[in-house]
């Protein structure tokens, strides 16, 4: 089972083995066939040389011994012929009817030859008989097949050994490293940046392809990480710019709104001032009726001014509210997450030390996040240069209200500012606009909550967001 698995998994090794076996078999087969051909020719030549021997030497002496009626010698000679290679049957049939026969006759594959025995002495030529020799080709084939079997078997063994050894070498030098590489590539993640690829190999002075592969792989990894870092940095910069832009946008919007509000309010103010002056004149002239009319007009202009303010507030409210159900713990966690990279840079620890589960508020998640991240960013800015800086958040809930406290162990809020810290354009920061807390205050108020600030007795500041909860 394990072997089979190995066979299935190691496709590369499998391919190599199959190729090696196929190629080796083909070569062996071709070589064997070639050698068999050579052998066959050699055997046939041997058989032919036997007949040559018979014709050349034995024929004459056989004729002599037959002529002399030396049967013993004749027999011996015929038997001698039988001893020649592959000769299986020898038959000497004499013209006087005698027959000397040796060897078996069973073979089918044979090569036979009839040699006439003629006594020739001077002019006396006499036909004595015929020598029949049959060579057995079957034994030739047998030999050949034996030979082929031996060669094939030995080659099979050799191939098996070589392939086995090769696969071992391949597995040891390439296969396991490939698997390690696969494993490494599969488990590799960009986040956290894993260790570089290292193959466990014997110390080798000579740098080979695998070393080059490992090096180039690690270099590639490094490049990817670098580019990833750059992309992240670019993304962060873009996000920051985006935030700044949004901030600027809000400021511009606030500025425009302030200008427009000032312009609109100026109209009733101008009217009231004008009417008051006219009223003065009527008063001096004793025009009581006209004066009363003027006073009415002044009152209605005052109401008009108030209406403008109400309208503006409603406008601000209407354009900023998209209500949804928000889970407080999620809101807090997300807000912390949003500033975590800044906190990390400043090595400031932000901890959520107390949390209420399953507490819901109705509100605009973006705005509420904006408020919390604003508070956290302020705290981070305050703690910037302090050792062991800490920010911790406590959430408590009671009577359909939830309090989110953001504590820090910074210098706290100066006494001359604490009363007006939520006023617009009041800032403790060198380059601060003083709009962050003012906006936050308005946003929380628009949510039906309250934002407050205090100094802790132990030092540091606490900002508390109070929001009404829903079920």
């Amino acid at each position: 089972m394990f072997r089979f698995q190995w066979w299935q998994q190691h496709v590369l090794a499998r391919k190599m083995i199959v190729a090696a076996v196929l190629f080796s078999s083909c070569v062996t087969l071709a070589m064997t066939l070639f050698q068999l051909g050579l052998q066959y020719r050699h055997h046939i030549e041997t058989i032919e040389s036997s007949s040559t021997i018979v014709r050349g030497s034995i024929q004459k002496s056989l004729v002599q011994s037959i002529w002399d009626f030396d049967d013993a010698t004749t027999r011996l000679q015929v038997e001698g012929v039988l001893q020649l290679p592959y000769v299986r049957k020898v038959r000497l049939s004499l013209s006087d009817g005698r027959l000397f026969e040796y060897g078996s006759d069973s073979t089918i594959q044979r090569r036979s030859e009839r040699i006439p025995l003629v006594f020739d002495q001077g002019n006396d030529r006499r036909y004595l008989g015929e020598l029949f020799i049959a060579a057995d080709l079957e034994s030739v084939y047998w030999d050949l097949s034996n030979y082929a079997m031996t060669v094939l078997f030995s080659n099979f063994l050799k191939t098996l050994l070589v392939v086995g050894f090769l696969s071992y070498v391949f597995e040891r030098n390439v296969g396991r490293h490939l698997n390690r590489l696969i494993e490494h590539t599969k488990t590799r993640k960009l986040a956290g940046y894993g260790r570089p690829l290292h193959l466990e190999r014997l110390a080798n002075e000579q740098i080979d392809e695998l070393d080059v592969l490992v090096d180039s792989y690690n270099e590639m990894q490094q490049r990817i990480e670098d580019e990833h870092d750059q992309t992240l940095a670019a993304l962060e910069t873009r996000q920051e710019l985006q935030q700044q832009l949004e901030q600027l946008d809000r400021q511009v919007m606030m500025g425009e709104m302030a200008t427009s509000l000032a312009h609109e309010l100026n109209q009733p103010l101008a009217t009231i001032t004008g009417y008051a002056d006219i009223g003065q004149r009527f008063n001096r002239q004793g025009e009581q009726q006209k004066l009363a009319e003027i006073l009415d007009k002044i009152a209605s202009e005052g109401l008009r001014a108030s209406e403008i303010i109400v309208r503006t507030r409603e406008f601000i409210k209407s354009r900023t509210h998209t209500l949804e159900r928000i889970e407080v713990s999620k809101l807090v966690a997300q807000s912390v997450e949003l500033v975590s990279h800044v906190a990390l840079q400043q090595q400031i620890d932000i901890q959520i030390v107390k949390m209420v589960d399953n507490c819901w508020v109705n509100g605009d998640i973006v705005q509420l996040q904006q408020v919390l991240t604003n508070l956290l960013r302020n705290a981070i800015d305050e703690l910037k240069d302090l050792d062991s800086a800490e920010i911790w958040i406590k959430v408590r809930s009671e009577d359909e209200k939830v309090w989110i406290d953001v504590h820090d162990n910074g210098p706290g809020i100066a006494d001359n500012i604490i009363g007006k810290i939520f006023d617009p354009f009041v800032s403790t920061k060198k380059d601060g606009m003083g709009v962050g807390l003012a906006i936050s205050y308005n946003l929380i108020e628009a949510h039906g909550g309250a934002l407050s600030a205090s100094n802790r007795k132990a030092g540091g500041a606490t900002f508390t967001v109070l929001l009404p909860t829903i079920k």
């Binding site: 312009h263 109209q267 101008a270 009217t271 009231i272 001032t273 004008g274 002056d277």
Partner: protein, 204 residues
């Protein structure tokens, strides 16, 4: 134009409250007035007669500045007092450079506005009288013959009839006749009167 013609105050402001208040202000001290809620209706409805224009600088549609430009193009004499809000000082300065009579910043006191209106009306009257006089003198000069015109300028140079006669190679009696016709056509009581008229007409 006669001096008895009453000055008329034009009020152009998009804010009905402000319009109403200014109307009351000017009417209660006896001015004629006519108000418009925007620049276009004013352009279609005003007459360039004695008076002044109280013009809001910020209005939807055509702004006060654009309206002033159009009035300048039409060579309207009406003096313009701009009414501006806070922070419109740069616009006000520009308006003054473009020939506005004055500007008022909202909110303003009645006394200041009436003061400025009075000054503007005085200035307008002066402008219109000057214009009328100039037009009249131009008309009289136009009624002179070419020879009379020639002799009038020689006379204003202080030349005696005799000298003029020699210069023009005519009889001294002829010069005298021309001279008396000149004084008659120009309705001049004396030589200094004639010279003053020519100064007013910009001929001297």
């Amino acid at each position: 134009m006669n001096d008895t013609q009453k000055a008329k105050i034009y009020i152009v402001d998009d804010d009905a409250g402000v319009r109403d208040m200014i109307e009351l202000m000017v009417s209660s001290v006896g001015y004629d007035y006519q108000s418009f809620p925007d620049a276009n209706s004013f352009l279609n409805g005003f007459e360039d007669t004695h008076g002044c224009l109280l013009l809001d600088i910020r209005m939807p549609g055509m702004s006060g500045m654009v309206l002033q430009e159009k009035l300048n193009q039409q060579q309207v004499l009406l003096p313009v007092i701009f009414i501006t809000g806070h922070g419109d000082i740069t616009m006000a300065v520009e308006a003054i450079q473009n020939g506005a009579f004055d500007f008022m910043e909202k909110p303003f006191r009645e006394f200041d506005l009436l003061n400025k209106i009075e000054k503007a009306i005085e200035s307008d009257l002066q402008n219109r009288v000057d214009l009328e006089q100039r037009q009249e003198i131009d008309k009289r000069i136009g009624s002179l013959t070419k020879r009379e015109n020639e002799i009038m300028f020689l006379v204003t140079q202080g030349k005696a009839n005799k000298v003029i006669a020699i210069d023009l190679n005519i009889a001294q009696g002829t010069v005298e006749i021309h001279r008396s016709r000149i004084m008659q056509k120009m309705a001049a009581r004396s030589l200094p009167h004639l010279m003053r008229m020519l100064v007013v007409a910009g001929q001297l």
